[in-house]
């Protein structure tokens, strides 16, 4: 760190010619770095920055024959059309509610799980727990959806068999709007809670064991140790994760939603992500759906920046950048 600062002060005093020599020297040493970076930079330009450049079709009437540049400008027409449409409120509400409930129910669970696993003293059992609880994370979203279709089937799904056994009436879970969010979120927890806990487990393993010893001396029980040592110890990570998740409140993945969407649950499963996919790719309304996607991206970006600022204003060391 000190060394760097010195170099900087030197740099400001350099004359033009010295600068040239300096740059030449740096390049002689570092050209290989740029070589190593080249493929990645080309990739990012092709697959991330070119699409960002292509976002301009949100303000144009994109026609494939005319191309991105050749299509005519229409200003904010697509945005206006979206807010004039009768479904925009439903799309926004569905997206926001799905994410909000997901955050509410899926966020605390990995933390609790990590705290619980941290209390396990047998190393082998702990390792087994961790390996097994993480396994569902590696199951594909298609297989997860397939499992839900099998288990929740109204005729021979296991869950409905159980309901019938207890004297209830079978429920067509995947065809009822009010069941869409619970199914989506609970299956998400089943799949992701163990994996999400790893992060907190790693943070917990970094807590100084002396703190526990001292607490034991003072007569603290396990509950006290969790409350006064573990939770404060992982609070920074919890806040960082909360920020990242809040920044995702209006993002809309479409794969799982699309896979679980049926004619019956569309009132709850029609989210912005799915709409952009179906209207954009299947309906070929390129400009219109780009506008919707762009709006969402900008909103998310702004939310993220605000949340990050707020976190930083509370405590300088918080925040994700």
């Amino acid at each position: 760190m000190k060394c760097k600062r010195k170099e900087k002060s030197k740099m400001t005093k350099r004359s033009g010619r010295e600068w040239l020599i300096y740059i030449r020297k740096r390049l002689r040493n570092d050209w290989q770095i740029y070589l190593l970076l080249l493929p990645a930079v080309v990739y990012l330009i092709m697959f991330h920055y070119m699409p960002i450049y292509g976002v301009q079709i949100a303000f144009k009437n994109f026609l494939p024959v005319k191309g991105i540049i050749g299509s005519e400008w229409v200003g904010l027409e697509h945005f206006r059309n979206f807010f004039k449409s009768f479904y925009w409120k439903r799309l926004f509400a569905n997206t926001l509610l799905l994410n909000l409930f997901s955050l509410l129910f899926s966020f605390p669970l990995p933390i609790i799980l990590a705290l619980m696993m941290n209390q396990v003293t047998q190393k082998k059992f702990k390792g087994f727990l961790q390996t097994t609880l993480c396994a569902p994370n590696f199951i594909s979203v298609v297989v997860l959806a397939g499992m839900l279709y099998l288990f929740l089937s109204p005729t021979n799904g296991m869950i409905n068999k159980l309901i019938e056994f207890c004297g209830g009436k079978p429920v067509f879970f995947l065809n009822e709007a009010r069941w869409f969010r619970p199914v989506y979120i609970l299956s998400g927890i089943w799949q992701g809670a163990g994996w999400g806990a790893i992060l907190y487990t790693a943070a917990l393993s970094g807590i100084d064991p002396q703190l526990y010893e001292a607490a034991t001396m003072d007569g603290a029980n396990k509950w006290h140790k969790i409350w006064y040592i573990d939770i404060p110890g992982i609070l920074p990570i919890i806040i960082t994760m909360l920020i990242m998740n809040t920044g995702n409140l209006l993002t809309s993945e479409f794969q799982k939603t699309l896979l679980l969407q049926t004619p019956g649950n569309i009132a709850a499963s029609d989210t912005i992500g799915v709409y952009v996919y179906t209207a954009g790719l299947e309906g070929a309304q390129f400009s219109y759906t780009t506008a919707i996607g762009l709006m969402l991206n900008v909103i998310n970006f702004v939310i993220l920046i605000i949340v990050n600022k707020v976190a930083k204003s509370i405590d300088q060391s918080q925040g994700i950048w």
Binding site: P39, L113, V120, G146, L150, T290, F301
Partner: protein, 297 residues
């Protein structure tokens, strides 16, 4: 000396273990039941008799699945995409991660260029149009080129190389006239095995489970990956066309339904076992891997 547990702590421990074992069962049981249902008689599954052990062992589902040509073409495709794709991912990610872990002119700029893509993207449609304009629509290369680098994994690689390889090592190597590429090949790579383990699993899983690329960029049946074909098989409320073509020799409607169910269980097993096997064989790297990724910067 072992400290004696107080009654409160003992109750706490018992409750804790009970809950954890419950969680364990909730994760394992759905997976277990799929395995035993796949090798049981379809009628026994329907009657709800297959709950703890397989009953009337039957491989009719697997036999039917073997006849399903589409799924095996897709299976081969996915293996190919996964192997080639992961290799490319690994090479590019290690190269990039190494470069970004060094000090050089313009480092800040490149860092920003990478990180920005994590927070802002063009979105589905502009990406689709660009990729199509590159001639990658209906081109199997799309499975390898798209997602050739994940910025998140580059950050993991960079952080790993920064934190586990001492700066003195590099300085000593440079003193001896070692170039970046040579240092990277001869010293960094041999010392990054744990990192490679994590990256291989992350990337291989992503390729294996990739459903979106096939859905969006491929319409030709022969290029489709496993997940797309699986989707047709698994997520339908009725017996679909794919299914009925596989089962058209079965006369009895009821039997057809049963066998269709059985095929689904089998399809889940054959598509998920490889990836879970890879994960279990590499899992020792994970806590470390996730920890590296979580370091800020």
């Amino acid at each position: 000396m072992k400290v004696k547990m107080s009654t409160g702590d003992r109750i706490f421990t018992i409750v804790n273990y009970t809950l954890l074992i419950l969680a364990l069962m909730m994760v394992i049981y759905p997976l277990y039941i799929i395995v035993i249902a796949s090798i049981s008689d379809p009628y026994a599954v329907m009657r709800g008799e297959v709950l703890l052990w397989p009953k009337d062992i039957s491989f009719i589902g697997y036999e039917r699945l073997l006849k399903h040509k589409d799924i095996w073409i897709a299976y081969g495709n996915t293996i190919l995409y996964t192997v080639v794709g992961t290799l490319l991912n690994l090479v590019l990610t290690l190269m990039t991660g190494y470069a970004l872990s060094r000090e050089f002119m313009g480092k800040k700029f490149f860092n920003l260029m990478f990180v920005f893509t994590m927070f802002f993207s063009g979105g589905l449609i502009p990406t689709f149009l660009q990729v199509k304009s590159y001639g990658l629509y209906n081109n199997p290369l799309v499975f390898i080129v798209m997602g050739a680098i994940s910025v998140w994994n580059v950050i993991i690689a960079r952080t790993f190389m920064k934190s586990s390889l001492p700066e003195e090592l590099y300085e000593a190597a440079v003193m001896d006239g070692c170039s970046h590429v040579r240092y990277f090949m001869k010293i960094v790579l041999p010392l990054s095995k744990a990192l490679m383990g994590v990256l291989v699993v992350y990337y291989a899983v992503a390729h294996w489970n990739d459903y979106m690329t096939g859905l969006i960029y491929i319409s030709k049946r022969n290029y489709q990956p496993l997940q797309v074909v699986l989707k047709e098989l698994l997520t339908s409320l009725q017996v679909t066309d794919t299914m009925s073509s596989m089962l058209n020799d079965v006369q009895d409607n009821e039997l057809m339904m049963r066998v269709a169910e059985s095929v689904k269980y089998c399809a889940i097993v054959i598509s998920t076992v490889p990836i879970l096997a890879l994960y279990t064989s590499m899992q020792k790297f994970f806590v470390k891997g996730v920890m590296i990724g979580s370091v800020k910067g």
